[in-house]
């Protein structure tokens, strides 16, 4: 059977809950002891570790928000001294400063094994050749899957992003069997193959592991019919680990959350109230085995629901519905997380103050595009065309450096952006995913 760690993935619920309680109690003790933020919050709110006597007591603990993580930039959330951290990744924040995520040696091993779980569930074995088209760097995506593949013993081709023609050439020549990419890039590859006259059926592709951005069942069907592979979804959260939080099994009725490593909850994003099993709401995660960066009740911003019914695959782990939307204004563009606030900050600092603008997200062909449209104001009025060009270039560079993605910047006439009750709609997402 396609199960990487049957001992944990197929535990009886009863055993799992005991293990979760033990690990929760240990992580709360450790977080209180080693993380200044948690010690302060617990002390301020009069919480003691002994309050946690059951999994339900988790609700007594405060949430950890993105803002908390940002406030503790860079190393404030670490539970171990820096010298024990062997890797530092980052997640997008709502400001120009990213969120820093640390890993110990054990954390990296844990990560490899968790990634190996969803990869195995998707059908990956040591016979596979895996082409990873995620960016290697501060983002977690490429590395997590890379480690998972190595743990399984598959052959990894660490391509990184871009260079679509070369990607296709390697896919043909190296006989890639597993494609790892964003769903959008998979379609971009299919399109390019069409242009080049490459028949996808002549390739060796079997499985596609797509993550990093929400993608619909419609897209799944399109990818499968155009690339002749089985398209599988997985879910990760950079702030807690990266890919390896949850993944689909062959039955594809939701993504199994690795509950021995992450304790999931669903809350009402408005009130923060815990919702009963099956209800739709915001996913909240508590790390149970992370060493460097334990996070208690982290609000992921992703909207989903949990199904605790046993799955035909034999796993006893709860399944989360595929994430289709978020409860905040995060934009996911070509798999990269971008907060409008990041763009605004970069824009205003380049312009030297507030200016009217609109962020436009669109999908041209299969790929997302991001553009920022600014209205001319006195602050950014240039008679000299050269200067105007230089300004636009400066804005573009700044946004790209903060968000990590390419952006198009345009100036339009004053008062030309559509207004509703005098206000510009700051984000216009024209994609219909």
């Amino acid at each position: 059977m396609n199960i990487w760690d049957a001992a944990h993935e197929c535990m009886s619920r009863d055993e799992l809950e005991q293990l979760q309680l033990e690990r929760l109690q240990a992580v709360v003790n450790r977080a209180y002891k080693n993380v200044k933020h948690y010690r302060k919050v617990f002390n301020d709110q009069g919480i003691v570790a002994e309050d946690i006597r059951s999994l339900a007591d988790l609700t007594r603990l405060p949430f950890t928000t993105k803002e908390d993580l940002q406030r503790n930039y860079p190393y404030g959330m670490f539970a171990v001294p820096l010298r024990e951290v062997v890797r530092i990744h980052s997640a997008s924040g709502t400001t120009s400063k990213p969120i820093v995520v640390g890993y110990t040696k054990n954390d990296i091993k844990t990560w490899a094994n968790l990634a190996a779980r969803f990869m195995t569930a998707a059908g990956v074995t040591h016979d596979d050749v895996i082409q990873i088209t995620f960016r290697y760097g501060l983002f977690t995506g490429a590395f997590g899957i890379h480690y998972g593949a190595e743990a399984i013993g598959a052959s990894v081709i660490p391509m990184g992003t871009g260079n679509t023609d070369k990607q296709i050439m390697i896919m043909q020549d190296y006989k890639t069997t597993v494609l790892v990419s964003t769903s959008g890039y998979a379609l971009a590859l299919a399109e390019r193959m069409e242009e080049l006259g490459v028949d996808p059926q002549s390739l060796s592709l079997k499985i596609g592991l797509f993550g990093g951005e929400p993608w619909s069942e419609k897209m799944r069907a399109e990818i499968e019919s155009r690339l002749y592979l089985k398209a599988m979804d997985n879910y990760g959260v950079s702030e807690v680990l990266g890919p390896g939080v949850a993944g689909e099994c062959s039955f594809r009725k939701g993504l199994h959350i690795y509950e021995d490593a992450f304790l999931p909850e669903i809350i009402d994003p408005e009130t923060g109230r815990t919702l009963p099993p099956g209800a739709e709401g915001e996913l909240v995660l508590t790390t149970l085995i992370r060493e460097a960066n334990p996070v208690i009740r982290f609000r992921t911003g992703d909207i989903t629901r949990l199904d605790y019914a046993p799955c035909e695959c034999g796993r006893t782990l709860a399944r989360m519905e595929r994430v289709a939307r978020r409860c905040d204004d995060l934009l996911i563009i070509r798999g990269v997380n971008v907060y409008p606030a990041q763009i605004e900050e970069a824009l205003f600092s380049a312009a030297g103050g507030e200016i009217p603008y609109q962020i436009v997200v669109d999908r041209k062909g299969a790929m997302d595009s991001l553009s920022v449209v600014m209205e001319v104001t006195e602050r950014i009025f240039f008679t000299d065309l050269q200067k105007q060009k230089a300004f636009l270039e400066a804005v573009r560079k700044r946004i790209t450096s903060v968000t990590g993605i390419q952006v198009e910047v345009r100036l339009v006439e004053a008062q030309s952006l559509p207004r509703r009750q005098g206000k510009i709609q700051k984000i216009l997402d024209k994609r219909n995913i």
Binding site: L19, E22, A26, R53
Partner: protein, 247 residues
Amino acid sequence: MLRIKNINTFYGKAQALKNVSLHLAQGEIVTLIGANGAGKTTLLNSLSGVVPPRSGEILFQNVPIHALLPHQIVRLGISQVAEGRQVFKPFSVDDNLELGAYLSRKFLGGKDKARQKKEFVYHLFPQLHERKNQLAGTLSGGQQQMLAIGRALMAEPKLLLLDEPSMGLAPMIVQEIFRVIAALSRENKTTILLVEQNAKAALKLAHRGYVLENGRMILEGSAAELLENKDVQRAYLGKDKKEIWER
């Protein structure tokens, strides 16, 4: 097979265990590590009923045992080998084992069974067999420890609680004792909870481990994970590693 939830154990007013939870699956060797005074022995004593917890729950094969008396707990199949090799020194090795069979004779099938068990112990510890008529008090420290374990095995425990079996013994002897613990788990499927100061040796033997600190559980993990954990290394695997000891 064993499940502990939220136990709190006190010595008078002093709380030695704070909301401790732990479990053992059938056939597992689990080690409990921690500094002196962390609460390791207290946890064993709470399990065996010697110092019952003030609150919390202990289930052994789904039977609540936290309110039972020590002899009732032994009868259910939990034997404790206390720290410090407590053998009946004026008695012979053989008699010491017979005393351990008291229960099995009474409840588990009489003399034949006891003889069988004794043979099993002698098979595990040939050194004891060679000295079966020697007085326990004249045995070396290592042999006394073997005898203490052997005596506990006479009650045919399903769960064996071992408290610092390596204490004060030469490394060679420790190896021998640990070899037998491994064999017990492998051949006899005895479930073992091992409390050790010698964390490295214990983690090499065990499947999983827990780390206690000031009466609180701060870590649970596979033995391999705990061996790699820097907190564990810093605190329990030798302070000679200065670079990780200084925070």
